[in-house]
C-alpha cells in the first residue's frame, strides 16, 4: 500500500490522468485496427517539431522566474528571421541554419529587454508575460502589414498591403530536417535529423546546467537570498535565463516551420506558449522545478495524446475532429490550471 502511495506521489495527479488517458487511446487504436505504424511516425515527428518550445521552459524555470508565458516573443523573432531567409532565397540546411542564427541573435536582444522588465515585476511574471505576449503578437500583426523588407511575390500578397498569412517553404527548406538521414524501422519512419536537432538542444542545455554559469543560475533560482550571500547577481541570472528561453523559442519555430512546410504568421503564434507549458507540466515539472527528463517525458506524453486523439475520435464519432480539438483545449488548460492551484502559497 505504501509503495503504491509512493508511486502515486512520484507520478503526480496530472501525469497519472494523462497516462491513463493515453493508455486508453493506445488500446483503442489497436482495438479499432488503426494504422499504428503511421501514428507512431506522426508522434515522433511531432515530438521533434515541438521539442524546442518545451526546452525553452527549462532555463526560465531554472533561473527562478517560472514558466515562460511570453514564449511567442522568441517565436516572432524566429519567424521574422525565417521570412527574411525566404526573401533572400536561402535553401536547404543552410537556410535553416541562417534562420536559426539570425533568429537567435534577434531573440537574444528581445529576451534581454524582456528579462530586464521582469526583474522589476517579481511575483507577477506569468500574468505580465501572458499579456506582453498578446500585445506583441498583435503589434507584430500591424508590423507584417507595414514592413518594407519584403518584396518577393511568394511573401507579399498579390494585392493589398503586407505579407501573406502563411509563407510556404516549398522549394526552400520544407521538411529538410525531417528527411535528413531518415530511415525506416518496419513501417515506422524515424526523423533522424529532427531528433539530432532535439538531441543537440538537450545536450547544449544539459552542458549549460553543468557549467559554472549553469550551476550558479540553478542556485540563484532555487534560493535567491542564498545566491546573493555568495555573491551571485540574481538579476543577471534571471536575464540570462530569459534570453536562453527566448532563443529556444526562435530556434523552435524555425524547426517547427520546416516540419509543417510553412510559416504561419499574424495571430498564429499567440497561443503557442500554452501547449509547451502544459507539456512540461505533464512531464512532472512544477512552477519551481524542472529538468531535462520532465521535458522529454512531458513532450512524449503530450504529443502522443495530441496525435492519437484525433485519429481515434474520428473513428468513434462522426464529428471527431471537433471532439479532439475540445479535448486538446481541456487537457492543455486543465493541466496548467491544476499546476496553478498547487503553488505553495497560502490557502484561504
Amino acid at each position: 500500500m505504501k509503495k503504491i502511495k509512493r508511486l502515486y506521489e512520484a507520478i503526480g495527479f496530472s501525469r497519472l490522468i494523462i497516462i491513463i488517458f493515453l493508455a486508453i487511446l493506445v488500446l483503442l487504436t489497436f482495438a479499432l485496427g488503426l494504422d499504428s505504424a503511421g501514428i507512431t511516425s506522426d508522434v515522433l515527428v511531432r515530438i521533434g517539431l515541438n521539442s524546442f518550445f518545451v526546452l525553452a521552459m527549462l532555463p526560465m524555470v531554472e533561473c527562478g522566474i517560472g514558466l515562460n508565458f511570453a514564449l511567442p516573443l522568441g517565436i516572432l523573432c524566429g519567424q521574422f528571421a525565417g521570412v527574411l531567409t525566404v526573401e533572400w532565397g536561402l535553401t536547404g540546411i543552410g537556410g535553416i541554419l541562417a534562420a536559426c542564427l539570425l533568429g537567435s541573435a534577434l531573440s537574444a536582444a528581445v529576451g534581454f529587454f524582456y528579462g530586464k522588465l521582469l526583474n522589476h515585476l517579481r511575483g507577477s511574471e506569468m500574468m505580465v508575460g501572458t499579456y506582453i505576449n498578446f500585445s506583441i503578437v498583435s503589434l507584430m500583426c500591424i508590423g507584417w502589414m507595414l514592413f518594407p523588407f519584403f518584396s518577393d511575390s511568394r511573401i507579399k500578397w498579390a494585392m493589398g498591403n503586407g505579407v501573406r498569412s502563411t509563407i510556404t517553404l516549398d522549394g526552400f527548406y520544407d521538411k529538410v530536417l525531417n528527411d535528413f538521414l531518415a530511415f525506416q524501422i518496419g513501417n515506422v519512419t524515424i526523423p533522424t535529423g529532427l531528433f539530432l536537432a532535439f538531441g543537440l538542444g538537450c545536450l547544449a542545455l544539459w552542458g549549460f546546467q553543468k557549467s559554472k554559469t549553469g550551476i550558479m543560475m540553478k542556485v540563484s533560482g532555487m534560493n535567491p537570498m542564498f545566491g546573493k550571500s555568495i555573491g551571485i547577481n540574481n538579476d543577471r541570472m534571471r536575464i540570462m535565463g530569459t534570453v536562453l528561453s527566448t532563443m529556444c523559442g526562435a530556434v523552435g519555430i524555425v524547426i517547427y516551420a520546416q516540419g509543417i512546410g510553412m510559416y504561419q504568421l499574424y495571430t498564429a503564434p499567440r497561443n503557442m506558449a500554452f501547449p509547451a507549458i502544459a507539456a512540461i507540466l505533464v512531464g512532472g515539472a512544477t512552477l519551481k522545478r524542472a529538468n531535462i527528463w520532465h521535458v522529454i517525458i512531458g513532450l512524449t506524453l503530450y504529443q502522443a495524446i495530441l496525435t492519437i486523439a484525433p485519429v481515434v475520435s474520428a473513428q468513434l464519432i462522426d464529428d471527431g475532429s471537433s471532439l479532439s480539438e475540445i479535448a486538446r483545449v481541456i487537457i492543455c488548460n486543465g493541466v496548467i490550471l491544476y499546476a496553478l492551484t498547487k503553488i505553495d502559497g497560502r490557502k484561504v
Binding site: F69, L117, H120, L121, R122, G123, S124, M126, M127, V128, T130, Y131, I132, F134, S135, S138, L139, C141, I142, M145, L146, G160, N161, G162, F274, I317, D318, D319, S322, L323, I326, A327, V329, I330, C332, N333, G334, I336, L337, L340, T341, I343, G345, R346, K347, V348
Partner: protein, 423 residues
C-alpha cells in the same frame, strides 16, 4: 498645486491618451456626429453591466476578474433555455434572469473556490480558467448534447440532432426585447437621467440632514459622488440642448431606457454593497489580507462572495448584450468577453487595485469609440481596414499590459519602501 496637477495627469495617463486617440480616430474616420453618438450610446448600454461586474473582485484585491467568461456562459445557457422553452417577453427575460442568478452563483462558487487555492495568482488563473471552461462548454454543447444529455430541439440543434448550431437566432419576443420596451431619444433621456440623479442626490441629502443634523448645503456637499454625477449629467443635458447641431445628432439616437434602468439599478446595488458591512470586509481584504485575517474577517468567504457576485452580474450582462445583438455565435461570443470588459474598465482609469462606477462608463465610452472608429480610420488613412482592425486588437491588449506593468512596478517600489521603513 503644480505637483498634484502632474501626479493627476500621470495617474490618468491612460485615460487621457485614449481620449486623444478617440478624438483623432473620430476625425480620421470621417463619420457624422450622429453616427458616432448613436453607436456609442448603443455600445455603452449593452456593455456596461459586463464591465460593472469587474468591480467587486478588484475591491477585494483579486485583480481583474478574467473568469467572467464563465458568467457570460451562464447567461448564454439562460438564453438557450428560454429559446428552447419558447418563452419570451417579460416572462422570458425574468426566467433568464433567474437562471442567470442560479447558474451564475453556482459557477461563481466553483470559480471562487478555485481562486482561493491560487492566492496571489488570481488573474493568470482566471485567464486559464476561462480557456478551460470554454473547452468544457464546447464539450457540453457540441459533443454531449443530444448524445449523452437528452435534449432535442430542431431549431437550435444541428441536423443530426447532436450539438448546437453555430449561430442561434433568438425569437422575436426576445430579440431586442429590453431595448424596445421603452426607447426615447438621447436628448430627452439625458434630461431624465439628470432629473433622476438630482432626485437621488436630494433623497441622500435629506436623509443625511435628518440623521446627521447638518445644514442642507453641508449635506449636499458631503454626498460628493452623487453630487458630481448629478452635476455632470445636468451639464451634459444643458450642453446638448443649447447646441443645435449636437441636439440634432442626439435626436437621432434612441436610448433603451429599460436597459438603462437595469444598469442604473445594478450600479446602485454595487455601490450599496460597498457601503455595507460586507463591503467593508471586502475592502479590508483587498487592502491587506493579513490584517483582515488577524482582525477575524473571513477572508475566504469575502473573496468567494466577490467572485460569485461578479459572475452573476456577468451572466446578466451577457443576456443584455446578446438580446441587443439578436443572435449569438454559440461557441465564440463569450471568448473575448473578459478581455474587452477589462480593457474598457482600465481605459476608464481603473487599476488592478481600484475601480469605480465612473471608470465603468468613461471606459466603456472611450474604449468602444476607438473600437468602432479605428477600422474606419485605418481604411481612410492606409486604405486598409485590416490595419485598423489589428490596431484596435493591439490597443485592447496593450492597455491591459500597461496596467499590469505599472501595477507591478508600483508594487515592487512599495515593497522596497516597506522594507526600509519597517522597524
Amino acid at each position: 498645486m503644480k505637483g498634484t496637477m502632474t501626479t493627476r495627469l500621470k495617474d490618468n495617463a491612460v485615460t487621457i491618451l485614449f481620449a486623444v486617440l478617440c478624438i483623432g480616430s473620430i476625425l480620421c474616420s470621417g463619420q457624422p456626429m450622429s453616427y458616432i453618438i448613436n453607436e456609442t450610446a448603443a455600445r455603452i448600454s449593452r456593455n456596461a453591466v459586463l464591465i460593472l461586474s469587474l468591480i467587486l473582485p478588484v475591491l477585494c484585491g483579486m485583480g481583474l476578474n478574467f473568469s467572467i467568461v464563465v458568467g457570460a456562459m451562464a447567461g448564454e445557457i439562460a438564453l438557450i433555455l428560454i429559446t428552447h422553452w419558447n418563452v419570451g417577453g417579460a416572462l422570458g427575460m425574468l426566467a433568464a434572469a433567474v437562471i442567470c442568478i442560479l447558474l451564475g452563483s453556482l459557477f461563481g462558487f466553483a470559480v471562487g473556490k478555485l481562486m482561493n487555492r491560487a492566492v496571489g495568482q488570481e488573474m493568470i488563473t482566471g485567464i486559464i480558467l476561462g480557456y478551460f471552461s470554454i473547452g468544457l462548454f464546447d464539450l457540453m454543447f457540441l459533443i454531449l448534447l443530444g448524445r449523452v444529455i437528452p435534449f432535442y430541439d430542431e431549431e437550435l440543434m444541428l441536423a443530426n440532432g447532436i450539438g448546437l448550431k453555430n449561430t442561434i437566432a433568438f425569437h422575436d419576443d426576445v430579440k431586442n426585447y429590453l431595448d424596445n420596451i421603452w426607447r426615447i431619444t438621447l436628448d430627452w433621456s439625458l434630461v431624465y437621467a439628470a432629473i433622476g440623479a438630482v432626485a437621488v442626490l436630494l433623497i441622500l441629502t435629506v436623509r443625511r440632514k435628518r440623521n446627521y443634523g447638518e445644514t442642507f448645503f453641508q449635506a449636499a456637499t458631503r454626498c460628493r459622488r452623487a453630487a458630481i454625477t448629478a452635476g455632470i449629467l445636468a451639464a451634459a443635458a444643458i450642453i446638448v440642448w443649447s447646441i443645435p447641431a449636437l441636439r440634432l445628432a442626439c435626436q437621432g439616437t434612441q436610448v433603451p431606457m429599460a436597459v438603462g434602468i437595469i444598469t442604473a439599478l445594478l450600479c446602485l446595488l454595487t455601490t450599496f454593497l460597498t457601503r455595507t458591512k460586507l463591503g467593508q470586509d471586502i475592502r479590508t481584504t483587498g487592502h491587506n489580507m493579513d490584517v483582515a485575517i488577524a482582525s477575524g474577517i473571513n477572508v475566504g468567504r469575502c473573496r468567494l462572495f466577490s467572485i460569485m457576485f461578479s459572475t452573476v452580474l456577468a451572466a446578466l450582462g451577457q443576456v443584455i448584450y446578446l438580446q441587443n445583438m439578436g443572435n449569438m455565435n454559440t461557441f465564440s461570443s463569450h471568448e473575448q468577453v473578459g478581455q474587452y470588459a477589462i480593457a474598457a474598465l482600465l481605459v476608464g482609469g481603473a487599476s488592478i487595485k481600484k475601480a469605480s462606477i465612473g471608470h465603468v462608463f468613461l471606459g466603456a465610452a472611450l474604449f468602444h469609440i476607438l473600437f468602432f472608429t479605428s477600422p474606419l480610420a485605418g481604411n481612410r488613412l492606409f486604405g486598409d481596414a485590416q490595419i485598423g482592425e489589428y490596431f484596435r486588437v493591439f490597443v485592447g491588449y496593450a492597455v491591459i499590459t500597461v496596467a499590469l506593468v505599472l501595477y507591478g512596478l508600483k508594487q515592487t517600489a512599495q515593497k522596497r519602501r516597506n522594507e526600509e521603513t519597517k522597524r
